[in-house]
Symmetry: D3
Subunit: 113 residues, 6 copies
Amino acid sequence: MYDPAQARIEAQSVKAIIEKLEGNSDPDFRVRALLIKEQRAELVKHHLWVLWTDYFKPPHFEKYPQLHTLVNEATKLAGASGTKGSADLKAADQLLAKIDEIADIFWETKKAA
Amino acid sequence: MYDPAQARIEAQSVKAIIEKLEGNSDPDFRVRALLIKEQRAELVKHHLWVLWTDYFKPPHFEKYPQLHTLVNEATKLAGASGTKGSADLKAADQLLAKIDEIADIFWETKKAA
Amino acid sequence: MYDPAQARIEAQSVKAIIEKLEGNSDPDFRVRALLIKEQRAELVKHHLWVLWTDYFKPPHFEKYPQLHTLVNEATKLAGASGTKGSADLKAADQLLAKIDEIADIFWETKKAA
Amino acid sequence: MYDPAQARIEAQSVKAIIEKLEGNSDPDFRVRALLIKEQRAELVKHHLWVLWTDYFKPPHFEKYPQLHTLVNEATKLAGASGTKGSADLKAADQLLAKIDEIADIFWETKKAA
Amino acid sequence: MYDPAQARIEAQSVKAIIEKLEGNSDPDFRVRALLIKEQRAELVKHHLWVLWTDYFKPPHFEKYPQLHTLVNEATKLAGASGTKGSADLKAADQLLAKIDEIADIFWETKKAA
Amino acid sequence: MYDPAQARIEAQSVKAIIEKLEGNSDPDFRVRALLIKEQRAELVKHHLWVLWTDYFKPPHFEKYPQLHTLVNEATKLAGASGTKGSADLKAADQLLAKIDEIADIFWETKKAA
């Protein structure tokens, strides 16, 4: 069962944590929020990697030549150069947008199968 | 510290387990060997994914246009369609060869940095 | 971000694996399938436990007096006495039905919030 | 082997960490302590969930009608609304008291078996 | 909170699984039992390693010159050359005996502290 | 496949993180760096423990009577009393030196085998 919803749910958690971080300067709160953000973002990456390696096949990469770059950029937005390494709400929104693009391709390939 | 040696060491473990499986029909032995092969192959995938997302940057993908496909094929050889889903020695050798290709690119980019 | 879809996606994986097990007597295939079923079923349990502890609050348990038993039965169907300990398609269907009941309550409480 | 001692040992670790946090304002020390508290509290939850799903059976829930609520409250005290989300020594003591109540029921059911 | 009970509880699980394996030739049952034995035995090793590295200090190793060998042998009995790699009830009993020896030293050092 | 390179790569990561911590007082940056240091240092410990239990055999401990102490000290340098509990560059260098000593013994035993 592959489903881009798994990455999306975790990415929404990342965004929700970033929103909470913006309004809170308590150091202990921030530690815990940053720690959970790290775990959720790692799960985003993992679910996207699984789609890229286990679900998508060579014909998909031929039909969607942007797919490699798209998944790579999405995982970078989930990773150290994105929502892991910062608490940047814009990065979280960009990540969600990329996941939606991947999901669109995913469901197109499902219909075509 | 990124180092393709991490993926390579785990891939060598995968190969060594496949070699042991070939000469052994004891069911309990096979269960344990298949279980450890699963874990080692998962680590191969993980280490390669980390290189692809966290180490390699857009200029690398421009300079090495084969890099996306190379890493994708290597992770597929580590995954369900490769050494995870089979005990095929040839798949293990192909996986090691792909990792060596990735490592060559990795060290070239390091020198260039 | 709590979402019963997470448990459902994993439970559908459990069901898909059980279907594959029914038509396949290759011992190595079965080992790998049983191993992945174990992991997926563990994730079903985990996602349900998280809902039960972290999402549902005392007023929910008052309003839905069956909720404790429902979640307990669902996790048992995911666990050793259910789809973990057997390859019983009926148990997988019962698990999915229980998750749907939990999801119905979940979305009702969301609307009420 | 089910044994409520597993949850109790981790809960005592949670309490010990909270005690250390009270006397220390070094930010780096606090990060590491909060991180370990998070991990230990997660283990408390996990061990309690396992008892609730895998050890306790319908006749136990009939005989001890408070058992669902008791385990739910204990996991909440280990979770975000309890010792995970705060460094409150009282929450740690309440958690230990709840675990002791669960352990009492556990050992009664063992004797009855 | 260090407590040799953690290693002991997992080792008792390992022993209980080996006892169940002896009376059961169903291949699917054996796969699942061997898988859980692997996980429990890994936890035995982990808990013993933590004691060896994090709890025991140089003065303990001086006072108990057999302690290094004792812990090393216990982890070997939990590992591939012991209860992980076999379903040998004698290995499980030897493992429990070693853990008891370690626990005796542990509690002596606690009293002396 | 045992290879002390696994512990060394993670220990170099620990050192690199400590170097980054020295020049950065941003609290959020420090939280994330300390968290990753914790994970990397745990992997150093794990890889060393695996060598100690699974690779090294009684004849090795006889031939290298310092081996138990050496591995114990290395894991302590990776653990709470070393690079986990501090951001001390000297501890990171001592850890790398110990790993190199273990690696020297490892490769000697490999040649002798």
